[in-house]
């Protein structure tokens, strides 16, 4: 007793806090899809052995956790199966695998940031800020992983990628090390992880050490191949533009001072009018490979597991690639029967070769050179351009390390686990662009930044059986999380030459200009430092109760405090209760109709974590005095300034926690001799009292006023249905499994009781979904001035006060006021899918397996901005801005030109403005994501060497085909806003062969 107390005390003192042991964790896990179960086809033997092995040491789950009964028996997959896919990021692995989880892939460029959403979005996705606030929490062995904080975007004029290496933080998951993947969607399962898990939790558990010596090895090698594209040259573009000139100008010039683009003016110019063979240099096959090995062993008192891996993910365009080197070490020790120590380190090094897009480079450089002529479509010219990069460098690398130390005490019914966890994610980017890349101005920049989360986590559990029928599990726990985000960044223009590629500083402390730059001019060196910190403190208690194993109840109460909340409302208290009813035991105890029938329900509330530290400060002052095009004005007259946050919005006192109210009702059933499994979950997720900047107080200088009160409701159904169509006992077996998520998103309240607001080009309207586009409805073209209807007051109909003329679009006057205004825009389409999921088929024949995995999105729409840009060439090129950039892919023919009327592109009504329904397209699709064939050689090798546990070889083809009506590139390739800019790099078809060996 005393020992326990002392240890508790020590644990407390060391500020080490503790993780919920696995005990408590699984206690409330319901509604999750354990991706563990189904590898049994090829691999049953192995999994079982592993379980047996680990039974000796390690901090393990309570055997009788009642709330196991409250778990959903959803879709069952296996990390080993996931690992067949040559993915580098967790999002790529999980795409279409679990009902309710939607993983995006806006570009196939390896290692780039991807987003995930569980049960829709709880915020309008206006910027990276909201995206960050809607991401699920990923937990690796009890260590909650940190994301990359978007605060660095504040200094970025162009917010395409975050400064720094912009490496996907979830590229640190080596699927070969993972034992189970669980997607927790409802509060009944996520509540234990607190407010940061309010958007859902993805729980990753790594392989345990084994007491028996065991070596695993797996490897694959493959090739990613681009799909063929149609290239065009200046003639195509010229012909395209001539249509407009022929129709709307008298002599081929619009206005006396207009100018036709130089690069199209001369049809004898071979650079633009000659061969368009740039694609040979841009697209190309790339090798992909992965190799992993692990060794584990030990005794029944101490064991370990050590693994290393290396992975290369090759992009098929622009010579992009990403490499990962990872290693993991876990050790368990059990000095006495009731005490276990456990420590783990998972370290990853990532490097990526980025694209050489003009846009992304200029966004980094923050300077727009003259863009009047694009890169020529000619291979040699393009090669010259690419050659300029060789005079400099662009190094991007990240180190991602997770680790924990755990102490577990096990006194049978009483258990105590304390965990100190750390996740550290740092990034470096060093750039030198030679003079030839930027109109003779060279550019150097260096970035270092890190995101760090330290977690102290304690949990105590106690199992208590009142009698044979009534059983209890109790647990109490607390958590402290310390999050720190920081970066330092500097860039400089106009170095003295292209040979000194570093921003050198004067190193002699005796000089007056000590530490001043001397290769670059002091005035053209820009330096940034920023840091944000926040801490979270939580306590919770939980009680589970089971009666006759038929009725199961669980109640949880927690208190969370965040330094990002104002002192007056720092704590948030949240309850969650869940219940389960084993109907099999109730009604079919002696009946074979159902092998399982379980009804579950839960209801609860949870705080939503605020990630920005400024709201807690109440009314505040910032150093920002920038303006359009110059966000980084450092001060006035060389003196730093402090003014109200006019551009980011007024934050007052009295801001409160946002929270989510959730409820779900689920049913798991297995019948027909366990051949069919069904799991269906209806959910209700209502995120309330969220902060939103309401555009107001303009006469007080603010762009918006930050207020609580936005509420967004996501309701829907997750369905997983799997069946052994031909059971495994047959020579030929066939298992098919489909997962479906149907989600409906609705904005239910805006702050201050408002009914609708406009934010940029989006409208938020109560009763409508927040991922809809706000569009004019296009009904064709006015061919003559006479066709324009009257405005009812003697004139012609006008668009925002500009009289419509021949050549202008015929927009629908929705409200019938004889004028086209913003009131005639309506909310249409959805940027996130209404229905999404996957369909998997596994065929078996003797030792052969064949898998077909489909991935689909239905009810998703995209704005084809790339086509809008094409047609709006007059405005895109008129302003020499980042939007006038034309990449080499400008010379690729995409989209259907015949769909769009020929408007007068010079008209001041902006006939080709992107927010109209001609650019809205149905982006539903179904794609065959994986075809794999495997052969299990285990039995053959076992004969020769009994040590062999598994020997499996396979070959697979990924991204085989996509069925869609979308006319642009792959409909997956659009960012979170749903605007397809054409920047997504096509998702390659990859061919891989691989082997997995355990012995």
């Amino acid at each position: 007793m005393r020992i326990i107390a002392t240890i508790t005390f020590l644990g407390v003192l060391c500020t080490t806090t503790y993780s919920f042991g696995n005990t408590a964790r699984s206690a409330c896990v319901s509604n999750h899809f354990s991706l563990v179960r189904s590898f049994h086809q090829a691999d049953t033997a192995k999994t079982d052995t592993a379980k047996m092995d680990t039974a000796t040491v390690g901090i393990k789950q309570a055997a009788k956790a009642i709330s196991k009964k409250l778990e959903s028996k959803g879709s069952n997959l296996d990390p080993k199966k996931l690992s067949i896919f040559p993915a580098i990021s967790l999002q790529q692995y999980l795409k279409g695998e679990a009902a309710g989880l939607y993983a995006t892939e806006p570009s196939s460029e390896p290692g780039t940031v991807q987003n995930m959403f569980i049960h829709g979005t709880s915020q309008p996705l206006l910027s990276q800020r909201e995206v960050f606030q809607t991401q699920p929490l990923v937990i690796l062995d009890g260590v909650p992983l940190i994301g990359e904080h978007p605060f660095a975007f504040d200094i970025q004029q162009f917010k395409f990628d975050r400064i720094g290496p912009a490496i996907n933080p979830l590229t640190n998951i080596n699927m070969a090390n993972i034992k189970s993947v669980q997607v927790l969607t409802g509060l009944n399962a996520t509540a234990i992880y607190g407010p940061k898990g309010a958007n859902g939790v993805i729980l990753l558990t790594t392989n345990d050490p084994t007491s028996k010596r065991r070596i695993t090895f797996d490897s694959y090698v493959g090739v990613a191949t681009p799909q063929s594209v149609t290239t065009v040259n200046g003639k195509f573009e010229n012909d395209f533009r001539r249509q407009f000139y022929n129709k709307y100008t008298a002599n081929g010039v619009y206005g006396d001072n207009d100018v036709y683009p130089l690069y199209l003016s001369d049809s004898l110019n071979n650079d633009y009018y000659g061969k368009s063979d740039w694609s040979d240099k841009y697209y190309g096959s790339q090798i992909q490979y992965g190799i992993n090995a692990s060794i584990s062993g030990g005794t029944d008192r101490a064991n370990f597991r050590f693994s290393v891996g290396n992975l290369r993910s090759g992009g098929i365009a622009d010579n992009t690639k990403a490499d990962r080197y990872d290693t993991r070490f876990i050790i368990n020790m059990k000095p006495v029967q009731w005490l276990t120590f456990s420590a783990m380190v998972n370290a990853n090094r990532l490097q990526r070769d980025r694209n050489r897009n003009v846009r992304d480079r200029l966004a980094t450089v923050n300077y727009i050179p003259d863009l009047s002529s694009p890169i020529a479509p000619n291979k040699d010219k393009y090669a010259q351009y690419l050659g300029q990069f060789n005079k400099g460098f662009d190094n991007n690398r990240s180190n991602i390390v997770e680790g924990y130390g755990k102490v577990g005490l096990d006194f049978g019914k009483f258990k105590f686990v304390t965990t100190l966890g750390l996740d550290y994610f740092e990034g470096y980017r060093d750039i030198f662009y030679a003079r030839t890349l930027l109109q003779t101005t060279n550019f150097a920049s260096n970035y270092f930044g890190y995101n760090q989360r330290a977690t102290v986590d304690n949990i105590a559990t106690y199992d208590y059986d009142l009698n044979e029928d009534s059983k209890f599990n109790f647990s109490v726990g607390n958590t402290i999380q310390y999050d720190t985000y920081r970066y330092s960044y500097a860039y400089a223009y106009k170095g003295s030459n292209d040979f000194i590629k570093l921003n050198l500083l004067q190193s002699d402390p005796n000089r007056g200009d000590y530490l001043e730059p001397f290769v670059y001019r002091r005035e053209l060196v820009y330096k940034f430092l920023d840091r944000t910190k926040n801490n979270q403190l939580s306590f919770y208690g939980k009680a589970d109760y089971s009666y006759k194993d038929k009725y199961n109840f669980s109640a949880l109460l927690r208190a969370d405090a965040s330094s990002n909340q104002q002192p007056t409302s720092r704590w948030f208290y949240s309850p969650v209760i869940s219940a389960g009813w084993d109907m099999k035991k109730e009604f079919f105890a002696n009946d074979d109709t159902f092998s399982e029938l379980n009804l579950r329900a839960s209801v609860g509330r949870m705080g939503r974590y605020e990630n920005f530290d400024n709201y807690a400060q109440g009314p505040q002052y910032t150093a920002f005095i920038g303006f359009t095009g110059n966000l980084i004005a450092p001060g006035y007259n060389g003196i730093a300034t402090l003014t109200r946050p006019y551009s980011s919005g007024s934050a007052g006192y009295g801001l409160e926690w946002a929270y989510t109210d959730q409820a779900n009702l689920g049913l798991d059933a297995s019948f027909l001799n366990d051949r069919v499994h069904a799991s269906i979950d209806g959910y209700y997720k209502h995120d309330k009292n969220m902060l939103l900047g309401i555009p107001s107080a303009a006469e007080y200088g603010y762009t918006s006023v930050i207020k609580n009160g936005m509420a967004i409701r996501n309701t829907g159904v997750d369905l997983v249905l799997s069946g052994d169509i031909m059971p495994k006992t047959n020579t030929v077996s066939w298992t098919s499994s489909i997962n479906v998520n149907y989600n409906q998103n609705k904005l239910t309240a805006l702050p201050g009781g408002l009914n609708q607001i406009v934010l940029g080009d989006r409208q938020l309207k109560v009763g409508e979904s927040v991922d809809s586009y706000w569009l004019l409805t296009n009904q064709g073209i006015y061919n003559t001035d006479a066709e324009v209807p009257s405005n009812g007051a003697g004139g012609k109909m006008a668009y925002n006060g500009i009289t419509l003329k021949a050549g202008d679009p015929k927009w629908l006057d929705v409200n019938g006021d004889n004028a086209i205004t913003d009131a005639d825009r309506t909310l249409q389409g959805h940027a996130l899918p209404v229905v999404s999921g996957g369909w998997k088929n596994d065929f078996g024949y003797k030792n052969w397996t064949l898998s077909l995995n489909f991935y689909y999105n239905l009810g998703r729409d995209l704005i084809n901005q790339e086509m809008a840009n094409r047609f709006d060439f007059v405005n895109r090129e008129g302003l020499n801005s980042i939007n006038s950039v034309r990449e080499i892919t400008f010379w690729e023919k995409r989209g259907d030109y015949s769909k769009y009327p020929i408007y007068n592109p010079w008209s001041s009504v902006s006939p080709y403005q992107v927010n109209q329904d001609i650019f809205l397209e149905n982006a539903s699709f179904i794609k065959l994501r994986t075809v794999s064939v495997g052969y299990d050689l285990t039995s053959m090798f076992k004969k020769k060497s009994p040590n062999v546990e598994r020997f499996y070889v396979y070959g697979s083809v990924n991204n085989v085909f996509t069925l869609t009506n979308y006319t642009g590139q792959d409909p997956e390739l659009a960012g979170f806003t749903g605007y397809d800019t054409g920047y997504g790099m096509q998702i390659p078809r990859t061919y891989t062969i691989g082997v997995k060996m355990d012995f």
Binding site: K413, T628, N630, Y700
Partner: protein
């Protein structure tokens, strides 16, 4: 066992106490109320903030020049449709820049920052003994001036605007538009009040500002801040806009008389158009200017006239956003012996001071061309020219205008000739006359009525300084002979539409009738 749980709970509770600290983090990214308005450095940061916001408001989207020079002005745009629309006064046009320029939020940021300053700065006085009464008085006078100036700027652009003189922190109340006349009265009285408090210069032991201002010497402040003559100078403009021409003469006299005390003088054509000349850095001659000081890393890619008008061969940009067409140049600069632009009878230009590449398709308006720190390097389009709102020449010509409007022709001609002495002092090859006093005087026969000559002179002298549109308004108000322009004046077409976003937010606002 229950005891254990209990014990754990006790310790957990202890932990809670120790963690309170962890929950109180002072952000390093923003400053909260508790940490502000305490020291001299805070008042300085807030004061510079008001300046910074003013600079931002003028520079945003190059507004100062688009409002003043592009709109219905001398310029044309080759390929920018938004500028074309503004040049044609088509201000409902559906372009982002047009929409953003019709939004006044950034001007109200100045006003709000000023209101907060005026309400809170006594706290600094109470908390920090280093902050003297004089320091506070001078600070307040500057802030009152800047607030008044923001109103003056807005009234010229939108006419009636909401009139707000308190910060109303936390309870922002929508206000309707107030009459522009009343606001201009306020502007005038505020500027007058600050003029009486402000020194002629800073950190030079002026009677009204003894000692080093904020412990910095004069070189820090020269030209950077509002001074006594700034206030009187802008009062001259305000009075002219109001049509109070006797006031114009009154205030202008103060400026011209005391110019020496403020270290001001007239600027030669050469210095005016030099790369590192008048527009570079901060200088006493800037009667009112908001600087982008290269040495302070203020140089900017945008927020200056250069980013609109410079192109090949001055900088490496193919086509300027806007330019003055050749026939306009020839019409405006038809007088010979003008040092700013000089073309001889054979059509050869001898001066590139105002226009470079005159014979090319797009003559480049290159009067102001402060690349980097005034270098000739065309390869990097970063500029550090100050936004000069007014200079001595402006005041002199405003007084000339006032005399002319009041019929005091001789005085008007005198003032006009003061400026002509600086500009019409070259031979027909563009070389400075040998004698400094030789220049071409105003000649009624050649130059027409003196009022027209004064406005034409303003058009030339201040081209690219954001003044032309307002000059046209005043000119037409005096002349009353241009029916089309008079219609604009009478129907509110000289104002900008109010951004739809603003009207959506504040139902008390009514759109300018011309733009309904």
């Amino acid at each position: 066992m229950k005891k254990i749980i209990l014990l754990s709970l006790v310790f957990v509770a202890l932990l809670a106490g120790s963690c309170k600290k962890a929950l109180n983090i002072s952000s390093t990214r923003v400053v909260n109320e508790a940490n502000f308005w305490n020291t001299l450095e805070d008042s300085r940061a807030a004061l510079m903030g008001v300046y910074g916001l003013t600079r931002a408001a003028l520079a945003d989207n190059n507004g100062h020049w688009i409002y003043g020079d592009a709109r219905m002005g001398n310029f044309d745009s080759p390929i920018r449709q938004d500028l074309k629309a503004i040049i044609k006064n088509d201000l409902n046009a559906s372009y982002p820049v047009v929409n953003q320029l019709s939004n006044w939020t950034r001007f109200y940021a100045i006003i709000n920052a000023a209101n907060i300053f005026l309400e809170r700065v006594p706290e600094v006085k109470a908390n920090d003994q280093r902050y003297t009464q004089n320091n506070m008085d001078v600070d307040i006078a500057q802030v009152r001036f800047l607030r008044a100036y923001a109103y003056f700027y807005m009234v010229r652009i939108w006419g009636d605007v909401p009139f707000i003189t308190s910060s109303r922190d936390g309870s922002f109340e929508n206000r309707p538009r107030s009459s522009k006349e009343a606001i201009l009265e306020f502007v005038q009285s505020e500027m007058l009040a600050s003029a009486q408090v402000l020194p002629y210069r800073y950190s030079v032991n002026d009677v009204q500002q003894p000692g080093f201002y904020y412990n910095e010497n004069e070189f820090r402040w020269n030209g950077a801040l509002i001074r006594k003559l700034t206030a009187y100078g802008i009062l001259t403009s305000v009075s002219a806009w109001q049509g109070k021409y006797t006031d114009v003469i009154k205030y202008a006299n103060i400026v011209t008389t005391d110019a020496g005390k403020a270290g001001m003088g007239y600027t030669s054509t050469n210095f005016l158009t030099q790369r590192n000349g008048f527009f570079y850095d901060k200088r006493n001659e800037h009667l009112l200017a908001f600087g982008f000081v290269f040495g302070h890393q203020d140089a900017s890619f945008t927020g200056n006239i250069e980013s609109l008008v410079l192109a090949e061969p001055v900088v490496n940009k193919a086509i300027p956003d806007m330019f003055v067409p050749k026939d306009s140049i020839l019409k405006i600069f038809r007088e010979t012996n003008d040092g700013r632009f000089n073309i001889d009878t054979t059509g050869t230009t001898h001066s590139q001071a105002y226009f470079t590449n005159f014979l090319g398709r797009y003559p480049i308006f290159s009067k102001i061309k402060v690349m980097q720190d005034g270098s000739t390097d065309p390869t990097f389009r970063i500029y550090s020219s100050a936004i000069v709102v007014s200079r001595l020449e402006d005041i002199t010509l405003l007084r000339a205008e006032a005399y002319a409007a009041l019929g005091e022709t001789t005085n008007a001609i005198n003032d006009l000739n003061t400026i002509r002495r600086l500009r019409y002092n070259v031979d027909n090859k563009g070389q400075l006359n040998e004698s400094a006093s030789t220049f071409v005087e105003y000649n009624a026969i050649k130059n027409g009525p003196v009022l027209d000559a004064i406005f034409l002179e303003r058009q030339k002298e201040f081209m690219g300084e954001g003044m032309h549109f307002y000059d046209q308004v005043r000119y037409n108000k005096i002349k009353q002979n241009n029916a089309k322009f008079m219609n604009l004046i009478n129907t509110g077409g000289i104002y900008w539409p109010i951004s739809r976003e603003l009207i959506n937010q504040n139902p008390l606002l009514v759109q300018n009738s011309y733009w309904k």
